[in-house]
Assembly symmetry: D3
Homo-oligomer: 285 residues x 6
């Protein structure tokens, strides 16, 4: 009985957070290692279903890098990258779309539905969600796009009826050609368009480190100003760069808090949202 009462107390501890986020939108970018372990994946979708049931509006944007490359190789294509961007010719674009929309997106949808949520998976094409322009670059990147407009109509429609939207980061340009988009940036733009309360990146690192020493303790709260400094010193670099840039942009456009958290921790999302003990790094204005 003692133990049960302890459990009830834990529920009650969550109440102030439930109140605080009631009716609020949280955009979750989900990718990397957190998508590989099936236990972690399940932990994450359950967190999201929980958020939905206690009155939040979670929106998921997923990535898909490693699976795309491995599938390309199966088909005998060699992935090529320039400055971290996948060079995307027509054929590559087709493969990207098949893997993102026809595989990863549906796996997440399925996992949510299996655990009792109601997910609907869409891409940036559906309902004209994401409008892009071709990314300018010295070396032609092919069908790599930059988000120019988010049309939130389909998200509001799904959200208003209790569905959890799961979004594959693709978009179309003015010719209705399909483009590959950086998922971090897509998540940030969607958060801005929805005036989300929070933007959360589920990554496979412990957070942002203060130095190149990879055993350092992650920074718990980082201002935009300090983030810019760490970028200049190349301490923030690699795959962390687009995430930090996405956070900075979101903060500039009115999102209150952005988080880069460790998706390898079980229930990382719930911990971030329902406890005071932040995990990973929070970037604020």
């Amino acid at each position: 009985m003692e133990k049960l009462i302890e459990k009830a107390k834990v529920l009650i501890e969550a109440l102030p957070y439930i109140k605080k986020f009631y009716g609020k939108t949280v955009v979750v970018k989900y990718g990397g290692k957190a998508m590989e372990s099936s236990a972690l994946k399940e932990s994450i979708v359950i967190d999201i279903i929980f958020m939905k049931y206690v009155g939040m509006n979670p929106i998921i944007v997923h990535g898909g890098g490693p699976e795309i490359s491995s599938f390309m190789e199966k088909l005998g294509n060699k992935p090529k990258f320039v400055n971290g961007f996948r060079v995307t010719d027509k054929n590559t674009m087709n493969i990207v779309e098949m893997v993102l929309v026809g595989k990863i997106n549906k796996e997440i949808v399925n996992l949510i539905n299996k655990n009792g949520g109601k997910a609907v998976g869409i891409s940036g094409k559906d309902g004209n969600l994401i409008f892009v322009e071709k990314k300018k670059s010295k070396i032609d990147l092919g069908f790599v796009g930059e988000v120019k407009k988010i049309n939130t109509e389909i998200l509001n429609t799904l959200d208003g009826k209790g569905f959890i939207p799961v979004i594959a980061p693709l978009g179309t340009d003015k010719n209705n050609d399909t483009y590959n988009i950086n998922a971090d940036s897509a998540a940030s733009e969607i958060a801005i368009a929805l005036k989300a309360e929070k933007l959360v990146f589920l990554t496979d690192v412990r957070g942002i480190l203060p130095s190149k020493n990879k055993f350092a303790i992650p920074i718990s709260t980082l201002t935009v100003k300090d983030a810019v400094k760490l970028k200049k010193k190349n301490i923030i670099d690699g795959g962390m760069l687009p995430k930090v840039d996405a956070c900075i942009k979101a903060l500039q456009y009115g999102i209150k808090k952005t988080h880069i958290i460790d998706g390898r921790i079980m229930h990382a999302l719930l911990l971030e949202i329902f406890t005071d003990k932040g995990i990973g790094t929070e970037i604020v204005k």
Copy 2:
């Protein structure tokens, strides 16, 4: 961190129950010792606020026996009881109403609001909620009423706008005279009228015992048939009688589950609703 993850798991364990009761009405009769300790009172209202936030519609019906009697004595009136019913002359009725409506009801409302809920306290008079007839009895009981009709309009109005209704068990008859009603019976009738999912009695005993031995382990699940047997053997008697009768009536009119639980246990309501480990006694059809 380990400990935090444990906490997240506890939240997640509640998810199947949150789903199950989403949008459902639960009528809670609240009285006795559970109303005396301020820690317990707070634990109960927090449980109720939690229920509201995760999508349930809790409705509270409260009693007030001991406080009424003590207040009567302060005023120099001597409480009189016949077969467990308070003999209620006009003057007594006034005092009952002042204490129930002007004191106990408002204390509960205040406690809920203090803890972040939105409560509205009403009596069975407001919005013509409870219509009664004078209780027939060999010895005249005065203004003691029997519920004849519940007009749920005010409850639906409050519920639909996010308020938690807190109800003092009084009613009016065809002459608009005010009557005292047994709170257990009022709770049962309200549950029936609202087609509630559950009817829960928060009491100050451990549950229904299988024998007169008061150290016996309470019965965890009791059928109506067995409840009737225990009544015949006088094992169910005293203050437990109206509660058991209220449960039986509710079950006959379609309520699925009724519970008599120990309000002295912290977070008894949450334990009952959000765990499989029932506490106290559940009476089923």
Copy 3:
């Protein structure tokens, strides 16, 4: 038949007033002698029901001074006043609440329902209606509050579903402690918050007199400016002071007309609203 036609003509004479006030809110402060005669009480609630049926939104705020004091004395407590304010210790506050909420409020609710309206009685605690701060005073007045914020949500909810709200003038502060509030001031603040069309005080005098001569003919229309003059000359004093101050404040915050009328006249409210012949004193900007 002649007489019947006369009656029909009277109904028709009310039509321009019905049109004028259709959909408008009228806050009625009800107290004093008008609450003592049962014929007068019935006349007033019938007027209010009539107003509701012809499309107005009447809101009642009641006082309770004499009954509180007499009940305190029954309990052996001696009422104490400083500058017209009741010194309110914890015990007094409890008694005030019981009498206001558990007795006077419910009597009005009952009377309205008996006459065919649908009333719901609440206090300033319910739905967090009235938020107060402790009144500053040289001599500590105890739990005497000043209205700081009106949360109209519960009033709009009740009104929107055809209920007549009846309000006991209590409020809670930031610690959720209960405070006694001057009913005149509560009525004024509620009228302001609801952007009411009119604020009407039902009193037990004939109106505001132009001089100390108590047989003088009451002033029929008074400007704020002249009201201030009469205050300086102490011609407006005593129990009339808070009423006049409440009117002045309401006028400053946009209420168009305020009235101090003689509740001892049968159907005083209807006369005020449905005829051109004002009764008592109207205070205007």
Copy 4:
């Protein structure tokens, strides 16, 4: 003041009737002498506006006999009647329509709007309100129709937005040819289709008389059975016949009360609806 209070009492006397008819539909057939005196006309439209403001849904169906004939004569056409029905060739039909729709209907609309109501005048053509078949008859009556279907859509649309519908009794058949319809029968069919509470005929007689003696006192309440008897004895005859038949049909199809009242009495409608003293004859099942 005494007199004012008397007036307030009259308003209050109307309250039980206001309650009783709140939200109910009353179909009023308006024709004959009551349409000739401008004082009477004004009295009637004011009654109707009053009904609308206190929550009823009055629907007006008007006739137009005398004006049609006089206008025909102006144009050099001689009105012809067979068994009380106007023989209606194409040219006559055009004149009927112009007078009913373009003159009488608009006069009523104008009178209502002038007195502060919001009327919209339509004919049975508008919104396909009245569908007819050609009336069978030994002698061809031309464009005289019998109501076969009422399409209440336009009435519900107008009513739902606070307009008072004023209806000219014309209809169209399956070829969309226009037909003249007996206004009494049109009123009855509309009342049935709207499940009206009451059907009232405003006539220019004192009611139904018990005998051929025209100074007899009118029958105050008549059953369908007795009405049939009076028809057999030819005591009910002439212009009264279609009214009584319309009442009988309405009663058979569920209308609770039908009335034949004297439109020459000022405020006859208000008297009928807001007093117990019925005027004219009420026909009941």
Copy 5:
């Protein structure tokens, strides 16, 4: 089959126009010769029904000049005109109203309903649609009004429920006297009040000509500036003047496009709206 495919292609060609005008209001002034041929009348109402079905909100304003005069003559009255305005005494006004409202309006309503639309015919009196003042003039014109205010409530009510409003151009002044209004001007004012997308005049000429030579090719697009010039040169004159003035006013108050088209061409409206090939003259800012 070939031919069928051609037909399908025609439907598809209309799609961009359907999209463009989806949900938009188009006010159509309908009068003159286009009202005389029954084939043309049918072609026009079918165009309007088509517009309604594909999502537009067509509003019809009709005139009635020739029929009014011919009917007046039948009654032995001689029509009199001053500067193109009908001198309208009380008797004339009655005739105007009967013909416009009781004949022409209902013919259009009937034609629409016969062809499967849902029309409701009203005049400027109904629902207080058109408020006028007496037109100032050296020679007294009698009941000739100028539009001062359009109350769109009844139009929005009808439109919102799928009805097509058909409007006879009459109005009432502050004394509720009825006035004759120029139909062109009424159409323009209604378009302005409804913020219509387009205002279309269906006339019996080919458009606005560039010179007095009546075989000249009509101007296809005319600016307000050039229209003013043509007016000065008296090239725009006669019955075209009020139409052009109505267009200019509408353009000044925000209507995007106004059209004067040849109603003698079958399906002139559809051609104007659903093809790029404008017919007649379009006047733009």
Copy 6:
């Protein structure tokens, strides 16, 4: 001009069909050769957008057979069929899903959006649209499912907000495993669940032939009874069998008309719906 008027007449000819199908649901199964020519594909999506704009609710279900097989071969997998069903192991299922959801579905969505519609592409997993059981078969077919339940919630949500749903025929079973479903059968079940007005199969044949002679003229209307006869004679066989069975089932469950039409004809859908000249074969009860 003549030609334009001809065009207007064609629009008008469509009006009776627009009326007839206003607000009705039409399920279109789209597959085979009609999906290969880009001109045909565009013609079909334009037809569907047209249907949406004139008030119908088109729902698209697509197949994908040939592309799946060709993609499998690219990956070095050999497609295997038993009785026309694709033997679907886990790996094949993944490929089916990627091609159907990530390629074909998104191509259709893109084509609709490019042409001005608002499409949203989903699979039977999204919003738990299609629930299946494993198909029973002597030879294990792997993940081949039979539709057991359609949950129309997501379709109604999309439809209600103006989106055109495009559905990939996959479903999940009670373990949330993904199954391949016959697209013809999926279309039929969705039509039944939505109580669709019509079910249309766009194929690459001219219709159902009366004999094995492939130059025979297709049957224009076929009853279920005759369809069963043709099946017995093996005249209906091969890929036509599941289509005919899907039609028969739909007819049994209340769909009024089913069509097997030649998708190789430009605007085949419009021709079928907006002309009397049916194309292909219509199967009726």
